[in-house]
Symmetry: C2
Subunit: 436 residues, 2 copies
């Protein structure tokens, strides 16, 4: 296993102007490649401090991945400092220079002289092309004093770094690993992290191939399954086998094996089945609709929505009965049901999602965290009572995630039903043919 | 200036399960206290590697702030490792033990024996109490070999770390600074970062007291103004003077000098003036309403909203004319105006915000980034055409921020008007009295 250190260069990180998401991204991906991240270091745009940090990193890691400091200005000194430490000369890399010219030409602009600084490459380095910016990366296999060490330099902007990391760095680790790796991300909703771990314990414990790692974020759990083998196909077979077992154990709670967000799965299912959805939101106030709309192409599935914060709005927009609000209050299963059914009528969509609840801060004796989630589907209306804990933002997010997930479950139910009907029809048709 | 290193401890950071937001928060705050962050280091829950990192940090920094590793499990080894390096014994800190008991009692639970590990404190350390968790922090003024160095240990969870940092660590830096500092965050909307810098250049250039720093995020710019003086009052006077100058130069584009988000300012203004708002959202699909609702107490100001993604929804919910949609399309100033006015009628609110536009991905020859933002106020309806660039998410966010900001501007306009009227009325009243 290659011990890796991520060395991020940039005063803006030390000033807190940006958070080090590059280090987070690389750290999340490397275990898939069978590598271990042992250290993150952040240093400013200062050559002597960068030099010291590089020497420390070369001393304790096999691979040093630097992020940032490859741009065109005098502040960008990663390449020059590293070349100096290794005693390498920089040369003008023709191809990188041409790429800078084309990049600017495509935008109707002309590069200034300092842009060509980015085309200077340390001798012997492998050039990593950058399809989303002008700063190429590079990979140096050290000789001499640091023989065997590898330094990989990547640009700082995440939209440049990520594709380069995926294309070159993951390949580097895979080439240097005796085995090929395959990972699948199993996404789970409706089952907490510790319950997932308990349910999977007998399957996971003592397993070394595949390996499993669980992560949790508001309302969701992800299980990463990674297997290694001599060929990629074998690794994939091992991974798929484990994933099938997880699906057997967790059942309906597994909503995706393609690393999708809940709203991505929902929009995909809606579109696959030619169905539409609408929303009626009280405490989330548009968060559910907004999450659905964040998926490209959502316009084919999302018809309309309402934000009904006040009792008046619930009555006026959705036709919730005055009597229901008085007898049961706005936060009740009855109101939630009328909201969902009222929205379905208003929008003409196949599914309507409604939520109402107390997000906090606490007013009088309101039970903060009490939330009703209702979905009115073509075949029935379902309302669930939930008790969430945490901040206002967390309660709203948990409500949104669970509402989206409940809709996904009802589509799955409908699909099973429809397939049953189709099978009946097919059987009947076959029967008919027999009778002919 | 105290050179500071942030040493974060936690394998979950190296695995990319969480991003190092603690380091980001501390880095952002320390310049206000006149301190400089020179390095961030992240290391896993491994005592020998933590020891090595601590030695490096003590060698190159005046103050080392550690985050994480103060919890109850065997993995949590920050305090024990640091005590060992400094040759300090740990003792059972009575008060911390009592606080752990009360914390659990308040939740109707009993602490397990390992919870009391958290009450072990290195001798001579100052205890930093934790009001949001069971792990106290501590501050050690080193003697002997590391004489003069200071080590501050804080827990990892951000909702525990932030209040402790604000209360104890900022005070430590302020006590150790020859001068008192005061900072104000000027929040700006409607003027890009480079334009802000250009406009303020003559004021900022060469200034050393106060100092200025600008940060940008989607649609907003923040200018931090920090002044130092012998007393806090003097520092505040210097800061306020500079802020007044910025407000003169940037005018209406300054929306807050209290470090508020645009939606916080909007909700505050609405509530102060007894006004209400509603939303009609196409491309943002609930993002504007959701941002407004994220402000505690927003229910007094936000009446209702609609998500009108399709032409059908725009007609059915808001009464947009078929003819307008056919002649001008859904993305037009005309449609936007009818959406805003239709929403105002539907909701009965004082202000209605409407947005329509192309967020991408590009379909046919749609001009991605073309957005109309309309606000129907009590005194008039305003529609603005905007051209945004960037990803789908960025275009939606820019739309939301600018729509919220346009509403804020119209409230300010209304207020000036109302004050005009009130002054007229007052003048008339005075006149009357004179006439009596």
């Amino acid at each position: 296993m290659l011990k890796t250190e991520i060395l991020s260069v940039g005063t803006e990180l030390l000033m807190g102007q940006i958070v080090n998401t590059d280090a987070g991204y690389i750290s999340k991906r490397l275990p898939e490649a069978g590598a271990g991240v042992y250290y993150h270091t952040v240093v400013g745009d200062n050559p002597s401090r960068l030099r010291d940090c590089l020497l420390i990193a070369l001393d304790r890691a096999d691979v040093v991945i630097t992020t940032g400091g490859l741009g065109p200005t005098q502040d960008d000194l990663t390449k020059h400092t590293i070349a100096e430490v290794l005693g390498l000369k920089l040369y003008d890399h023709r191809e990188s220079r041409d790429r800078i010219d084309s990049f600017f030409a495509a935008r109707g602009r002309t590069p200034t002289e300092n842009n060509y600084r980015q085309a200077m490459i340390p001798e012997g380095a492998e050039v990593l092309t950058n399809d989303n910016g002008t700063a190429p990366g590079c990979l140096i296999r050290c000789t001499g004093r640091y023989d065997g060490r590898v330094i990989i330099m990547l640009p700082g902007p995440p939209d440049e770094l990520k594709p380069m990391f995926d294309k070159y760095v993951m390949k580097f680790y895979s080439d240097n690993s005796r085995q090929k790796l395959h990972s699948i991300f199993v996404r789970i909703c409706g089952c907490g992290e510790s319950l997932v771990e308990t349910k999977l314990a007998s399957m996971i414990d003592g397993q070394t191939n595949p390996t499993f790692a669980t992560y949790a974020k508001s309302g969701q759990v992800t299980v990463r399954v990674t297997a290694g083998a001599e060929t990629e196909a074998e690794a994939e077979t091992l991974t798929r086998g484990a994933v099938e077992k997880i699906k057997e154990i967790l059942g309906e709670d597994v909503y995706s094996v393609d690393d999708e967000e809940p709203e991505e799965t929902l929009v995909r299912l809606l579109k696959e089945n030619g169905l539409t959805v609408s929303t009626a939101e009280s405490l989330t106030a548009g968060m559910i609709a907004s999450r659905i709309a964040s998926v490209p192409g959502a316009s084919a599935a999302l018809v309309s929505g309402t934000v009904v914060y006040t009792d008046e709005a619930k009555k006026r927009l959705l036709g919730v009965n005055e009597k229901t609000l008085t007898e049961h209050t706005a936060v009740s299963a009855q109101t939630c049901r009328e909201m969902a059914e009222g929205m379905k009528k208003l929008s003409g969509s196949d599914f309507s999602i409604a939520v109402t609840g107390y997000a906090g801060p606490r007013v009088a004796d309101e039970p903060v965290g009490l939330v009703y989630i209702g979905v009115s589907a073509t075949h029935k209306t379902v309302v669930r009572e939930c008790r969430f804990t945490g901040s206002r933002e967390k309660i709203r997010t948990l409500t949104a995630v669970n509402a989206i997930d409940l809709t996904r479950r009802l589509i799955a139910e409908l699909k099973i039903k429809a397939e049953g009907v189709r099978n009946d029809a097919a059987a009947a048709a076959e029967g008919k043919e027999e009778r002919v």
